[in-house]
């Protein structure tokens, strides 16, 4: 999809500190244009997850804080906004490892995502139907405990749950983690379709560079809490040092 218009998300020189002293990000700068898919690449511990959590304000749930820099969502400064408020404004994060509510049923998991807007019963039921049309498999599994579903299904539950918040921007952390290649493909196809048909913008952290670059418009490589390279996905895919970046990631894993 072509990237047009103003950025939906602008992250400028953001530093994040955990606890009193651990510096996790050292000046991340990136843009997500309205209606685009942007990938965040890099090794374990490079700062991808922290970047996403800084945007969604979930760092604060883990005693982290943005110490410097600025985050804007559609022009408004959201650097220190509270996480629940951001969900209501249209930013939702799907956490690494999916994090379904294991003891709740599949349907309860998904429906819980809709509570933020205090919808009427009718609206909630409509939104649930919409999620089921995206993930028909979940409808069959709706009465099972979420924790008993496969990894791929749990990823779908997590994305479906996030969709219920009616996001404009979805932050996805390692959607491919632990999934077989066929399932990864299925998940990425759904992401692309959500992007094209529902106009949801995506910022996704991925270690699976190959898949991420195939589906993203733009990509940033994160190293040591900073952006070390960025460009269109096609440009980055063509660069020869991308492979070494990724391989380097494995070596230092």
């Amino acid at each position: 999809m072509m990237t047009t218009a103003a950025p939906i998300l602008a992250v400028d020189n953001v530093h994040v500190i955990y606890g009193q002293s651990i510096l996790a990000l050292r000046g991340i700068t990136l843009r997500v244009n309205e209606g685009s898919i942007v990938a965040l690449l890099g090794a374990n511990g490079a700062g991808k997850t922290t970047t996403l959590k800084a945007i969604s304000s979930l760092v604060r749930a883990e005693r982290g804080r943005v110490a410097q820099g600025e985050i804007r969502f559609r022009g408004d400064i959201i650097t220190h906004a509270d996480a629940a408020g951001l969900v209501r404004r249209g930013i939702v994060q799907v956490l690494e490892g999916r994090r379904c509510f294991a003891h709740l049923t599949v349907e309860q998991n998904i429906v819980a995502g809709g509570y933020a807007h205090r919808p009427s019963r009718r609206v909630l039921a409509d939104d649930l139907d919409r999620v089921y049309t995206w993930f028909p498999r979940l409808k069959q599994r709706r009465r099972t405990a979420a924790g008993l579903n496969s990894g791929g299904e749990q990823q779908m539950i997590a994305i479906g749950r996030a969709l219920m918040t009616r996001p404009k921007l979805m932050l996805l952390d390692e959607p491919s983690m632990g999934l077989a290649p066929m399932l990864v493909e299925e998940i990425f196809e759904i992401i692309r379709n959500l992007n094209r048909r529902e106009g949801v913008s995506f910022l996704l952290a991925e270690q699976n560079t190959g898949f991420a670059l195939r589906y993203a418009d733009h990509a940033y490589v994160v190293e040591n809490g900073q952006v070390s390279a960025h460009g269109t996905a096609a440009d980055l895919a063509a660069r020869t040092d991308m492979a070494s970046l990724y391989l380097g990631a494995i070596a230092t894993d």
């Binding site: 979930l58 749930a61 883990e62 969900v87 379904c100 509510f101 995502g113 924790g147």
Partner: protein
Amino acid sequence: MQYFLTILLSGLLAGVMYAMVAIGFVLIYKASGVFNFAQGSMVLFAALTFVTLTEHGVPFWAAFLATVAVMIAGAVIIERLVLRPLADRSPLTLFMATLGLSFVIEGLAQLLMGTDVHQLDLGIDDLPLDIAGLQLSQFDLFASAVAIGLVVVLSVVFDRTRIGIALRAVADDVLAAQSIGIRLPVIWRIVWSVSGVVALIAGLLWGARQGVQFSLTMIVLKAMPVLIIGGFSSIAGAIVGGLLVGATESLADIYIGPLVNGAVSNWFAYILAVGFLLIRPSGLFGDRTIERV
């Protein structure tokens, strides 16, 4: 045999009273991971507030509703002054905070309502009923009916309502719950309020039996073995644990008591709990993680 059954049943019915206290613990523990030592003080405070109101001529239901309002107000204050400043501190810190809270609540109760022992009459006679040859206390049966009603209401709330599902979501995964916009302070206020109402009901039942007095706070110590046996995170566990403690206590009193020359019921539950800690530390219904293998 008839005698044995009578002892067993009256033990089970007494266990219901333990379960009522334990349920208050479980609610708070599940939703916030806090072991609320102040639960016993809340039981006392609620019962004392109710009884003080009725002694001033307030009718039963008005006094009940007023006390519910007081417990909700208390929950809001506790969330604001204690829980929010201590959010994401270690469980031990929070436990110490609730320990302190229990003294504050008791002190406040004493300051506002004095230290007298109050009689509380719920209008249920404690006469033995003869059912199929078994002698059962009418009051115990009433208490059980109340407990069953409470549990049914709670389980419907947890399974069917938005608030209930949100509470369980928080209990399952706090960060994931926050990621979809669930506000933790709201959840804490709700769960402490519900726990306050459960404390009120437990306080009325205990108070009607023993009189409303400061020793009511001691039932917190009786709830401990119930929770260890049933598991800290399960309402079903709290009930089964309560029944088990009640039944074994009264049986042990009759059948083991004479052998050791003393009242066994004071300590038997703790021995049972230690046994569980050794064999099944998560309790009968404690959280085993649901995982696909």
